[in-house]
């Protein structure tokens, strides 16, 4: 009973009781809210790590994506290897939750560069649309600050 109720002699209305399904829905929502930043971070990390390692192991499969530079050149090969190295390190950082915001921010910039490059060279395509989604994920991870499952100390 609050002050007003005590003064006036009335009883404050109680919130309507939640049904079982509403309670379960609320709990599920709470659970998702608590874990989704971590799930997004780890998912993004796995994506980057997969592509990074693949670029390092089979760089010649990726040289076609290097804009302007001829696919068969050593320069393109070197750029793919550097890109793969960076993606791998970023992927590990995100999976472990180390320097998450920095890793997510750099990832977002890298993916944005890919999106723009592919758009300018080949127009908007299914690959660009997919990478746009990864870019959004990276931005979301960059903005989130409630991470779990992170490596500390």
């Amino acid at each position: 009973m609050n002050r007003l109720a005590a003064r006036t002699g009335t009883v404050a209305p109680k919130p309507p009781a939640q049904t079982g399904s509403e309670t379960a829905h609320a709990e599920l929502k709470q659970l998702v809210q608590a874990w989704s930043p971590s799930a997004a971070r780890i998912s993004l990390g796995l994506v980057l790590l997969w592509f990074g390692v693949h670029e390092l192991v089979q760089p010649s499969l990726w040289t076609g994506y290097v804009p302007v530079i001829p696919q068969a050149s050593q320069v393109a090969l070197g750029m793919v290897l550097m890109h793969g190295w960076l993606l791998s390190v970023l992927g590990v950082a995100l999976i472990l939750g180390v320097a998450t915001q920095l890793a997510a921010g750099v990832s977002a910039l890298l993916v944005l560069e890919i999106v723009l490059s592919l758009t300018f060279t080949g127009g908007f395509s299914d690959i660009v649309a997919r990478d746009l989604g990864v870019f959004g994920l990276a931005v979301a991870v960059f903005a989130s600050d409630q991470q779990r499952l992170v490596l500390r100390g």
Partner: protein
């Protein structure tokens, strides 16, 4: 330890350092073994493959590459190779000739186009690159041969654009399914 305003513990720094070293080692390995492709000299590695039989059925780690020398005569005298179905490329092949390519085959052909012109017991197969970035490849085969396109990954195809010619190629077999060498 802080990186760009974020604190990184000892374990984090050690993990990142280890990842950087391992990735660098992989990069060195990758530089020495760039994977597939016979892109040497800028020649896109599309041509007859000479795969070796593999029971593993795993994704080929090297794309079919061989010397592509347009020939005017059918390659009927060539020594038949292994059965295509016994090679690691089998699951990545899409029939182009004879018959009409399937929908999947047309998707695999992203970035390429082909013609197969039968004449007098042979068929002249010509594979062209979208945009004319490379000269077309043309070769004649006995009309009874089968010609397949190889696409190891569709992930690098977009619409009619091919971002990676390294995992594409074509292969011909005789009527019994043996790879024509």
């Amino acid at each position: 330890m802080r990186i760009a305003g974020e604190s990184v513990g000892r374990r984090g720094a050690a993990a990142l350092s280890a990842a950087a070293v391992v990735a660098a080692l992989l990069a060195v390995h990758g530089y020495g073994h760039p994977g597939s492709l016979g892109v040497a000299g800028g020649v896109i590695p599309t041509g007859q493959a000479s795969p070796t039989p593999s029971a593993s059925g795993t994704k080929p780690n090297s794309s079919p590459s061989a010397s592509v020398s347009p020939s005017a005569s059918p390659s009927g005298s060539a020594t038949p190779g292994p059965l295509l179905s016994s090679t690691s490329y089998a699951s990545y092949t899409y029939q182009l000739y004879p018959g009409t390519p399937s929908t999947t085959a047309r998707q695999a052909l992203a970035g390429f186009s082909f013609t197969a012109q039968p004449s007098q017991g042979s068929v002249t197969f010509t594979l062209s690159f979208a945009g004319g970035s490379q000269p077309p490849i043309s070769k004649s085969y006995p009309a009874s041969d089968h010609i397949y396109f190889i696409e190891a990954s569709f992930g690098d195809d977009s619409g009619n654009a091919e971002y990676n010619f390294g995992d594409d190629g074509y292969i011909a077999t005789d009527a019994s399914g043996h790879v024509v060498q």
